[in-house]
Symmetry: C2
Subunit: 385 residues, 2 copies
């Protein structure tokens, strides 16, 4: 096991009706700004429920935070918060709204140009406005971690930052709020969560048995519950298990003490940036090929994955590994997420530009061993067609 | 899944050499009191290592905190802390030292008689002196939770308390510090951790698949690594996995959203109080009989345990359940912890007094359904002989 530091102070309120409890989590007399996205929380009643729970507070709203939240939009909110002396933010939505709110929270008290927060990976952020979240879309895990990804449209840059100051004070997770999500968002959420876990699990073995068992457990729950979520959209326990999986899949716990990969995510980001393909779809395309191309360096963990997650114990090593990769692809397809570049209209001709973008963004040594070069990625993308 | 609230702010520093990092976790200029137990940390060099890490701080010491830490001892420390204006406590040891330090931390600023903290289950505790821990014995899980059990010798009372104010600020977990532990303490630690997890896992099903998979994963790691820890006392990864298991087994995570039992622990406490048997030994005696007697109400989870943890899938349900219980007993015995009352010189004649003590302490409706009466316990103890 590798040495690690782990701390996660976010308070989780979980279960049907938990939104009613958020009042206790926000200091009395706070001037609260509710942030949200495209307006679905307005239509489905979640925003009203939140406001009812916060009766008596001085409430205002900032809507319109996009998927891939834009620096330009968020800076408008920063100005608003500063000028109206808001002292608590409440993000109501999915990963994009929460990520955007983390940036706002960090930018408001920041002395200097807030762009530095993204340019320097949050290094300068020592304090932030306190904020909570009401999660409506399980996928990103942002509700219980301290990272965010923000896009600056004018520079075509999508940059992450992290700071201990931007853990949510609390997150309310009510599985019933996911009942009305479109099928594609549930599918994407399950695939996104699955790949988050794989990035922290299928690397090289360091004898971290606790972390391995937890990762395998979460993967098995996704495999068991994911397809049910499509068939039975109002099955409470299915939604509850998927929601808790998504949170635990990226709250730092399974990452503590193990190597991490994230090459699939980096390639996926470029596909999204260039072709507008949903984040989860890019992961479903890239992961099977990534595992295939890097089979040798990941051999031991792939065999463990094949046996423990998919029950593959027959045949020689290579056939078990191939079997596990195909099972993974099959799972994504069963979740109605297509797994080939061609499914999204991307052809061989697009690959050189993708590789150029990766190089341009400095993504030349990826993976848990920092040995994944553009040449490796070229091979991967070739297999993704 | 049941509704839940979960928050755990303790910062974990994990791995060989991590004690050197505690300096960053204690505010500069703090007046620090190091608390410890019988002196093994003095002999094995851990205390020196801690002091070296805290060079430049105003340090003092309070040793002599007993196994089953005594209110009387701890109150001496409370007086010392108050009179010398200590502002940070550092517990160096196992669960007893950490539990004791939690009580000291809560008692120092308490207005009123500190005994109330135990009498009223910590209800009045809103603040506590900040403290950290350096763990030397993985078992109790106290290093990452907010509970403690304190004994008041003069009243023959052993009482728990909990408060959000007594989470350690940080805990340093260096697996190499467990190399010199006596075999019995490693054995006891593994059994204690195992039964902690079982108390939160083998109850009735609530479709909490995430929590179930995590609990099963931790149990499998204990089964795999426990015996190795006896054979290879300086196998780093074995000790690291056991240490992290013990912490995660009782930090609230696997308890969130599921029913909990704890009847085995309550019966075990009485055996310890009357006969001085080690805590873990009492659990190893009581658990197999407890599961056997309450087989019907725990049937579904016992079958799941049999299949997923022990791989028992052949034969009818009852034989699989029996098999899992016997495997559990066999595991404790393999860990060199005996599983019969007679192994500790306790006979049928002692059982009535044990039952009387349980009643006297109000333990008349135990278990996840509050249906475990002294009659049930009588049957259980009869099977423990």
């Amino acid at each position: 096991m590798l040495n690690f530091t782990y701390q996660n102070p976010t308070r989780i309120l979980f279960g049907q009706g938990c939104i009613a409890g958020i009042k206790k989590e926000i200091p009395k007399g706070s001037k609260v700004l509710i942030t949200y996205g495209g307006g679905s929380v307005r239509k489905n009643g979640v925003l009203d429920e939140v406001k009812a729970a916060l009766e008596g507070y001085d409430l205002s709203e900032f809507g319109g935070i996009e998927a891939n939240p834009a620096y330009e939009t968020l800076m408008q909110c920063v100005d608003l918060v500063r000028s109206t002396k808001i002292d608590f933010l409440l993000a109501v939505g999915g990963g994009s709204v929460i990520d955007g709110t983390k940036f706002i929270a960090a930018a408001v008290p920041y002395e200097g140009d807030p762009w530095e927060i993204l340019e320097k990976y949050g290094a300068g952020v020592k304090k932030a406005l306190p904020f909570g979240t009401v999660l409506t879309l399980p996928a990103a895990g942002s509700e219980m971690n301290n990272g965010a990804v923000i896009t600056r449209k004018s520079l075509q840059a999508k940059l992450p930052f992290a700071s201990a100051a931007v853990f949510p004070k609390f997150s309310a997770l009510d599985p019933t709020k996911t009942y009305t999500l479109p099928v594609s968002q549930i599918s994407n959420g399950v695939v996104d969560t699955f790949v988050h876990i794989i990035e922290q699990y299928i690397t090289y073995p360091v004898n971290a048995k606790v972390q391995d068992r937890m990762a395998e457990g979460l993967l098995m729950v996704l495999i068991e519950e994911g397809p049910k979520a499509l068939r039975e959209p109002e099955n409470y326990d299915v939604r509850a298990n998927l929601m808790w999986c998504a949170t635990l899949g990226l709250n730092g716990l399974i990452a503590a003490g193990v190597p991490q990969d994230w090459a699939t995510h980096m390639v996926g980001h470029e596909i999204t940036a260039l072709h507008g393909v949903d984040h989860a779809c890019t992961l479903a395309v890239v992961l099977p090929a990534m595992l295939k191309v890097r089979k040798e360096e990941k051999r031991q963990k792939l065999l463990q994955y094949a046996e423990r997650v998919w029950g593959l114990t027959e045949g020689d090593e290579d056939s078990r590994i191939e079997g596990a990769i195909e099972k993974t692809r099959g799972f994504f397809e069963a979740m109605q997420v297509r797994t080939r570049l061609s499914d999204y209209g991307i052809t061989s001709g697009n690959i050189p530009v993708l590789l150029e973008q990766l190089k341009k963004h400095g993504m030349v040594r990826l993976g848990e061993r920092r040995n994944v070069t553009p040449e490796t990625i070229s091979e991967v993308l070739d297999l993704c067609r």
